[in-house]
């Protein structure tokens, strides 16, 4: 299992702030997104959405998640 966390408008698309999903071993980000419904997977693939793995910002490139990880999807923050 890994925990996906959604912020901002992604919460509405995901139908909630968190989803637990099962993975079979280390999983590249691309494969993870393939397992999600398209209306959610597409906005998550937007490079303006930053990623935090276990509470730290990480680059998208060659990201691999493992069981027990928390992966947060952070859309651009709102303005003033």
């Amino acid at each position: 299992m890994i925990k996906l966390v959604f912020l901002g408008r992604l919460v509405d698309l995901a139908g909630g702030g968190e989803i637990d999903i099962a993975i079979a071993g280390p999983t590249p980000l691309e494969d993870l997104l393939l397992g999600l419904p398209a209306p959610l997977a597409e906005p998550l693939a937007d490079p303006r959405v930053k990623l935090a793995l276990n509470g730290r910002l990480v680059p998208r490139e060659s990201l691999v998640v493992e069981a027990g990880d928390e992966l947060a999807f952070l859309p651009p923050v709102s303005g003033g």
Binding site: R9, G55, L74, V77, S78, G79, G80
Partner: protein, 148 residues
């Protein structure tokens, strides 16, 4: 030269916070504060700020540390609300105490520009009974470029 940074989930009293902060720095000649509140009268019924625990407060602490290295300050206070707020409720309070008022003004201004455009908050606004997400603004990016 101390930072006081807090992320609150319940309303706070900006007057009390500012005066407690000021009392800590009797050697400062001046204290500049900024209070941001939910605007009344513009049709906004409520504002909700969500945050991401592992990033939001550490980000605010990093911002405070960077202001403290950049200007000669006696102290810096940053208080930011998360959760649902009603019109007239405080959202953010920044106060800077310094020997010279120019430093206090610049630090408070800097902290606000960065809080507004870079800190990990997502906002939605309720108007006419409908919640609507607030998008990033070009203006905020311009504000940031003042400090580059």
């Amino acid at each position: 030269m101390t930072a006081h940074v807090r992320l609150l989930l319940a309303p706070f009293d900006p007057a009390r916070e500012t005066s407690e902060f000021t009392l800590r720095y009797p050697e400062a000649g001046g204290v500049v504060s900024f209070l941001g509140q939910v605007r009344a009268g513009g049709g906004c019924e409520a504002l909700e700020l969500s945050h991401y625990e592992p990033l939001t407060l550490p980000g605010m602490e990093g911002l405070a540390a960077s202001a403290l290295t950049r200007w000669q300050l006696d102290g810096l206070l940053i208080i930011h609300r998360a959760g649902v707020m009603l019109p007239g409720e405080p959202i953010v309070l920044v106060a800077a105490a310094a020997r010279h008022r120019r430093d206090a003004f610049a630090a408070a201004d800097f902290a606000m520009d960065h809080l507004k455009s870079e800190s990990w908050f997502w906002k939605r606004e309720k108007a006419g009974g409908q919640w609507r997400w607030i998008e990033p603004r070009e203006e905020d990016r311009q504000d940031l470029s003042r400090w580059a």
